[in-house]
């Protein structure tokens, strides 16, 4: 991957800044985060931090459009977002190449070479995914992001089970994406060494940390006037 920058294809959608305003998210009906504000410009990355259980995964799923926000707004829409979660959607019986080609075709093209190059998967291209180690599988999952050709990349703990080299490779791929005007939101517990990265600690926005109404916005039966139910 001498010049990953040149290799990567153009976006399907013109990058816009990501705006998060007054966002509240809930999981299983329980409010998790509330009053979240953030802005990320093209070319910038946002690192989400927070202790276990603080709501990073829930926030990312909301940004990806997989669950509706309990309150507040997110722009742009879900079709600008590409989401990489813990589950990679990898089919064990297909080869690495077949897995990637499928996602490429879903996104309307057939060019998997840049994705293979970005995560050093060319040597494994014909290996069935079942025969990959944990870290190799993870790389395959991350490579899919390159295929989406979408400007906003959302990652949930992307470096899990990656070794040091692979983490560096990931950082390079994200940097290249940013340089081309892409955006990234990354929930992680470790340090990635990205250059244009801002950090957002979600702890202050935890619903449990907030007083009063905000924490209950998600539940129609949670209002404060308990006497109404008597």
């Amino acid at each position: 991957m001498s010049d990953p920058d040149a290799a990567q294809p153009p976006f399907d959608i013109v990058p816009e800044p990501l705006c998060i305003a007054g966002l509240a998210v809930a999981r299983g009906g329980v409010p998790v985060l509330a009053g979240l504000e953030a802005e990320v410009a093209p070319g910038e990355a946002l690192i989400l931090r927070g202790p276990n259980g603080s709501g990073k995964t829930t926030l990312l799923r909301t940004l990806a459009g997989l669950q509706p926000p309990a309150d507040g707004i997110v722009a742009p829409g879900a079709d600008a977002m590409a989401y990489a979660s813990h589950a990679d959607g990898i089919k064990a019986t297909l080869t690495v190449q077949e897995n990637l080609r499928f996602w490429a075709r879903i996104h309307g093209h057939a060019e998997i070479a840049p994705a293979l190059a970005a995560f050093d998967l060319a040597a494994l291209a014909d290996r069935p995914a079942a025969a990959l180690s944990a870290g190799q599988k993870r790389r395959l999952g991350l490579a899919r992001m390159v295929l989406t050709r979408r400007p906003v990349w959302l990652f949930d703990e992307p470096t899990v089970s990656l070794d040091r080299d692979a983490v560096a490779r990931f950082a390079t791929a994200v940097t290249a994406h940013l340089r081309r005007g892409g955006l990234a939101v990354i929930a992680t517990h470790i340090d990635l060494g990205l250059p244009h990265a801002r950090t957002l600690d979600v702890t202050p926005f935890r619903a449990t940390a907030l007083p009063g109404k905000a924490a209950h916005a998600a539940d129609a039966f949670g209002d404060d006037d308990g006497s109404a139910y008597l």
Binding site: A64, G65, L66, Q67, P68, A78, D79, M81, A82, Y83, S85, H86, A87, D88, G89, I90, K91, T93, L94, E98, F102, W103, R105, I106, H107, G108, R144, T148
Partner: protein, 218 residues
């Protein structure tokens, strides 16, 4: 869309899956019936069209959980939902892949199995015809049921419970066509009803399935 269909077909062949196994289950249900009911030929040929339809329905049913469950577990369904592919299209494709790997082979095999149950000779054509018209409805209804229960771990039995009542009209008309055919009676009315049900299901249910998927993904 074609990519999804191609992948699903490829997966079902690779896993040693879909294709052979629904068929094998059908074969086995038909084979077990005489053990349960007794070897009397007259009884068997009386119930043959019904048992063949019931067997095909159960074989279909058993393979329904393949439709979405694997994609749900490994996260692929999340990714398809956030992809440019409309979810309605994905649901329709999934139903088509299911039919190609179960309904079609079942239809082709049913006449051969009719021999085992002493199906009267004039019944073979009608059996095949009724299955050819009815199994698409079974696949689409099943896709809807699978979409409803996709979030439930090991939802297989729950799904059966939801899907089976929905299968009743198709089963009634389908088995009626096969039975009347075997007894050399007029089949036009149930055949028309069967075709109408199938068409309506294929046209409308993918939308319901997509709606159910959206809720489950949330």
């Amino acid at each position: 869309m074609i990519a999804l269909l191609a992948r699903d077909l490829r997966l079902s062949i690779r896993a040693g899956g879909g294709f052979g196994l629904a068929l094998a289950f059908f074969l086995i249900v038909v084979t077990l019936t005489p053990f349960a009911v007794g070897p009397n030929t007259a009884t068997l040929s009386l119930i043959a069209p019904g048992i063949l339809w019931l067997g095909a329905l159960l074989a279909c049913l058993l393979s329904l959980d393949r439709i979405f469950a694997l994609d749900w577990e490994d996260g692929a369904l999340d990714l398809v939902a956030t992809s440019p592919l409309p979810l309605e299209g994905a649901a329709a494709i999934k139903a088509a892949a299911h039919w190609l790997t179960t309904g079609l082979p079942l239809t082709l095999a049913a006449p051969a199995l009719g021999v085992l149950l002493n199906l009267p000779p004039q019944g073979f054509v009608w059996l095949a015809l009724s299955l050819a018209l009815g199994t698409p409805a079974l696949s689409v209804i099943g896709t809807f049921g699978a979409a409803l229960t996709v979030g439930v771990k090991r939802g297989g039995l729950l799904m059966s419970l939801i899907v089976l009542p929905l299968y009743v009209p198709t089963l009634i008309f389908g088995a009626e066509v096969a039975r009347r055919g075997a007894e050399a009676q007029a089949t036009a009315t149930p055949l028309a009803a069967l075709a109408a049900i199938s068409l309506a299901c294929v046209a409308l249910l993918p939308f319901a399935a997509a709606a159910a998927l959206r809720v489950n993904l949330r």
